[in-house]
Structures are given as C-alpha cells and as structure tokens.
Symmetry: C7
Subunit: 75 residues, 7 copies
C-alpha cells in the first residue's frame, strides 16, 4: 500500500499482494487480495482464517462481507 | 471461484457449486449456491446448517439474508 | 422453492406454502408465506412462534420486520 | 389482517384494530394501530407496555421507532 | 398526540408538550418537544434524564440522535 | 441552544459554546462545538473525555463519528 | 486540526499528521493520516495498534473501515 489520496487507492495498491483482514468478531483472514468494491466486500485467494494467533482453517478463495471488516493491512 | 475483478464475480463463478456460508452468529450453512444479489442475500439448495462442526438441520432450500453473512468459501 | 435466478424468486415460489423463518434472536416463526418485499419484510398466516423447539405462541397473521431475519426455509 | 399482496397491506388492514408489537429488547406494546410508514414507524393509541407477560405501563398514545420492531400481530 | 394518518403527525401534535423519550439503552428523557426530523432526531427543552425511575440529570436543552430512540409518549 | 424549528438548528445555536456529547459506549466528551454535519459527525475543541464522572483524557481537538452519539446538551 | 466549518475539514487539516483513531471495540490506532472519505474510511501510515495503553502490533499501512470508528484526535 503506497501513497494514496483516497482510502480505496490503498486497497487498489494492495491487489495481488498478501493482506491481513481483521474482522469485528476477532478473527483474521490472511490471503492474496483479488477484488474489493465500495462496500469493502473483498475476495482473498490462498486464504487462511486465524483465531488467537493460530491457523483455524485453510479456505482457498474466500468472499468477505464488507460490513464485518475492522481493518486491512499488509501481511 | 476463479480469477475475479469484482467480489461478486467470485460468487458468480461459484453458482451451482457447493459453498460454506459462515454467519455472524457462529452457525454455517453448506449447500449448492443457486442465487445471490447485491445485498449478498443468497439461496442455497440441498443445504445443511452446521453448528460447532456438527450438522444441526437439513434444510433443502434456504434463503439467507445478506446482512447476517460473514464469509462465503468453497465447500 | 424451485430453480431460481435471484434470491427473491425463491421467496416468490414459496408463496402460500409453509415456511420456517429463523430470527436473529433465536426464535422461529412457522406459517404460510403470504407476502414479502425487497426489505424481506414478511407476512405469515396461521403462524406459530417457536422457541427452543417448542410452540411458544399461536399468532394467526404476523408481520415480521425484514432486518430481524436470519434465514427462510420450507417447513 | 386479511389477504395481502405486500407486507404493508397487512398493516393497512389492521388500522384501528388492536395489535401486539414485539420489540427487539423483549418488551411488547399492545394498542390500537393508528398510523405507520415505510420504515415501520408506528403510532398506537390506548397503548400498554408489557414485559414478561405483565402490564408495565399504560401509555395512551405511543410512537414506536420502526427499527426496534420484531413482529406485529393481531391482539 | 391526536388523530393521525402518518406517524410523524403524532410527533407534530406533541410539539411544545411534555414527552417521555425512551432510549434503547434503558434511559429516558422527559422534556418539552421542540423539534424533530425524519430521522427522529429530536430536541427537548427543560429536559431531565431518568434512569431506573429516578432523575439522573437536569439537562436544559438536549439533542437526541434518532437511532437511539425506542418510543415517544406523552408525559 | 435557543428556539428551534429543526433539530440541527439547536446544534447550530450551540456553535462555539461548550457542549456535553454522550456516546453509546457510556463515555462523554465535553468541549467547544466547532462543526457538525447531517450525520451528526462533530468536531469539538479543547475537548476532554469523561468516564464515570472523571476526566479520562484531554484531547484538544476531537472528531466524533455521528453514529456513536446518544445525546448533545449544553455544558 | 484547525478552525473548521465542517467536520471533514478537521480531518483534512490533519492529513500527514499523527492521529489517534479510537475504535468501538476499545482498541486504538496511532499513525500518520494519509487518506479518508465521506464514510470516514481511513488510511494511516507507520501505524501501531494499541490496546489497554500498550502497543499490540506495528502495522505499517492500515485501512480502517469508517463504521468501526469512535473518535479521531491529534496524537
């Protein structure tokens, strides 16, 4: 994620890179960012669900509903 | 779910395939994805409700309201 | 609920049939689906409220606000 | 509440009749339905608030904000 | 609050009269209704905050955000 | 906050005056009201965060997101 | 954050400065404000997550979804 004028520019710069998506329920998804929209709905590939610092599930592709998301940062 | 430009493309690619729909309340629905809309309202067929890793109910067809959904991934 | 292109088609196919409406608060309403709209507001007839697997109330007609709904499935 | 094509038709048919309005917080309001709008904001007259099956307050007229409502049924 | 066709008519009829505004968090505000809008944002004058049946604070004028409101009734 | 026809008029009358902003999470911010918008997003200056009646933090300028606000009253 | 007519002016004045972003879940993010939009979605750089007054994680760049934000103030 590089120099950005609008928040979605940061997500655009992170396409095809690994990101950590923290959810409101305390779980995190780590994977390659493939797609997002203005609702911050996202698709990650080669994704893993983490809970309390441990891998809980390997998911392959995952669609994440935007309203459950807290933060997105580089993995 | 294949290469996608927008998040809903991933759902479109999953039509007629088995998906796991995780809800905000901790339950999961597994079934064949038949339909979805921009609110992420979904219809699954041959669906089962899972809770704590066990099948809780066999539902046949189920309509799931989009705002209850956390994630969608391939089954 | 038959073959559907959009989620609301499934609800349309269920008109005048018995459905189970599961709410976010853990209760369920079982009755004949008479009407619904795009907010998933619904009207059931000959409806019963169920809680923990038991009939709690017989309601006759009931209007259910859409934003309280988790899932809808055939009874 | 009679034969209805849309959910709000059921509310319209209930005007000037006694209804039970169940709220998300577990309380219920019973009174004569005088007005409602598309947000399901409602006005009841000769209304009583019930909690755990007992009358908690007599309110006369009460305006109920729609987003707090779970279900509406005939009293 | 008199005979009303729409819910906001009831609020309009209550202008400059004392009302009880019950909030989702269990507190209540009692004061003279001076203004409201379609979001049910309200301004009360000579207002008091009540909690568990006791006056907790005297507030003078208070602006109440509509989405925190449960019900409004005559004081 | 003086005589008002619409709720936002009350906020406008409070510009550059000290206000108490009560949040849904139980904390309160006290400071000089500098700006607000239709979402009730606000900016206070010389602001303090209060919790359980005690000053928790001195913040200088603070932006408060509107959807976290319960009430606004004169300090 | 300087003299402002609208709340977003305060955020604009804070661009490229360090801010504290307090979230509804009790955690705080401290970093340099790079971008924001009308939903108060934000991007911080050189960001740290704080919980109970201690640094929990160093994040580099972080995208924060606006609807999780409580307040924003200068660091």
């Amino acid at each position: 994620m590089e120099d950005v004028a609008r928040p979605l520019d940061a997500l655009n710069a992170a396409r095809n890179k690994n990101v950590i998506v923290d959810l409101k329920n305390g779980s995190a998804y780590i994977g390659k960012l493939k797609a997002f929209d203005i609702h911050i709905n996202m698709v990650l590939e080669e994704a893993e669900e983490h809970k309390n610092g441990e891998v809980k599930r390997k998911l392959g592709t995952v669609f994440i509903r935007g309203d459950t998301i807290l933060t997105i940062s580089p993995a």
